[in-house]
Amino acid sequence: MTVKLDRRRALALIGAAGTAATLPAWGFPRVAKAASGRVVVVGGGFGGATAAKYVKRWNPDIDVTLIEPAERFYTCPFSNLYLGGLREFESIGHDYDELRETYGVTVLHTWADDVDPEAKVVRTRDGAAIAYDKLVLSPGVDMHWGALDGYDETAAEMAPHAWKAGPQTRLLKSQLEAMADGGLFILAAPANPYRCPPGPYERVAMIAHYFKTHKPRSKILLLDAKDSFSKQPLFMDGWQSEYGDMIEWVSLSNDGKVVRVDADALEVETEFGNRHKADVLNVVPPQKAGFIAERAGITDASGWVPVKPATFESAMVDDIYAVGDATIAAPMPKSGFCANTQAKVVAAVIVAELAGREPPSPSWANTCYSLIAPGYGISVAGVYHVADGRIAEVEGAGGVSPREAPAAFREREARFGAAWYAAISNDTWGTTGA
């Protein structure tokens, strides 16, 4: 018993500062092993940066290496606000100083090109072979080039996806700025599953805001491969009240599914043969797990990563964990918030397993805030746990913003959204994006 108490005290000290609020409680073992080990994390977004940080936070003796090509990471969340002219691009950029300096994570700015699960080694583009005891892959999504006829990397230079924040986002913004008033912006939205379910609907709202303030005669056509979407009634109410008839949504059943893209002509063709010509064309194509997941052999026929629900260890390869958009975690959506909370669970699992302890039993949370206009925010929230061996939503724990709500309510949610972004950025990278 004294051993148990001592360990608990020691861990409490390690955890310090706010950990108690975010760390699920778990039982402590009677026997402790040497708790160190080598953890490699691939991908420095919400999932990877959080995993690296929290492994170190909960056990500084573990050697943690983060492999991320970008020296500064730009987030998809809030990139729509940049498109709407409400934020500077640099305000959604984050660096790795805190991970390096405060937590002692080794950060390598290179590509992870291959994984050898037998030798337990990650090979990087600059020729290094990095050994791991536990590997965390948080590669996000890759565009599934070729899945949509006519849409490849070259086409994306003319008709950007802007579904990874960075040069693509800036390209779309510059095209919107160059467009004449009275032009037509077309967004082609994919079928499920894809990164950030409410993203396309927030994006058209933010671009409508930009048009309303700069190019009020312009129109927006949202061609959708779905018949329903996240927070649909709230979005449609908001589009109408803020932008009148500027945004037209065409559902799957009204021939909204784009089946061919002619990027040179900025033209798309739908399932039943209708053609639409845009002045600015934004194609959000079908997606799949980032390529390193494929290289590691942890993707299935769907192109995504099946995981063991309680630990997010790959269902196919031992000692490789995956978090974030690359995983099949439904009913958890592919969101930055989910990646962050999945990463904390994985960090807790790895710290426990390297110490020879039973991993904790997890729960996860998610909130997706969307901004329809300045001072007009909406949200959907969920809490998740493992039930009958599967991830399931905790009944009655989540919710969506009310349909009829006073302006002050929407205004509060807009502020909550901004506060959420600062908080989760701080939790992930130690930067608030201010």
Partner: protein, 271 residues
Amino acid sequence: MPFARWARPIRRRDILIAGAGVAAFATLGPARALAAAWDRLPAARALLGDAEPETAGINLDLPLISEDGSSVTVGVAVDSPMTSVDYVRSIHLFAERNPSPEVLAADFTPLVGRAELTTRVRLNESQTVIAIARTSTGRVLAAARNIRVTISGCLVRADTYDSEADLNTRVRVSSPARRGAPAEVLTLINHPMETGLRVDDAGDPVPERIIRRFDAHLNGEAVMSARLYRSLAANPYLRFFVAPDAPGKLRLTWTEDTGRTAEAEAPVRLA
């Protein structure tokens, strides 16, 4: 009965197990567990009669997971020469754990040229989807696949229906790759496919309203027809083929349970 008594399921099963031995049993395991799906479902079993269906030569395509069970794309393809003497006569789809498992029953003529059908299905919960095909020569084929239905937290399940578009029809016929090759036909009709199981916002039951039947004729000759059930997703969508030997007109007809019909026409070209 086209099926001989010797093809009774128990005997065939016994032979399979005896012949396959222990090692093969391990690989057959999942297939056999799923195979029980059509034995569990009386409507499917009734179609099979005494026959033990073939499981090779039929492909059932659906996602492993659907994040919105209100409209799941399901495809069936059967290996068949599709000649006038040997063709797939019908394809049947079932969703085992829906309130009414029948989804669709399509009757083909050799004019389809290719035994393939895609549609969109409502799935109430995680379950097994079953496809059964019967050929003009008396063969019976069956396939079953499990699907997990999980409503993503960031998605709101909504059988949203655009009533302004009610009974709008769409059709697209591709040009065949070469003369005599089957051309792809896509069709959709805007229709709520009200199941009669739903209540409206005021809590009152919404009466059943279903497209019951779909017919496709090429120059007046039957190509295919289908009975549709309430497990078919709103806005019934069908993808099938037609193999014309002369150019002509494809005429599509949808018939509602009220007797109301909708029609669409599309030219069919040769390559």
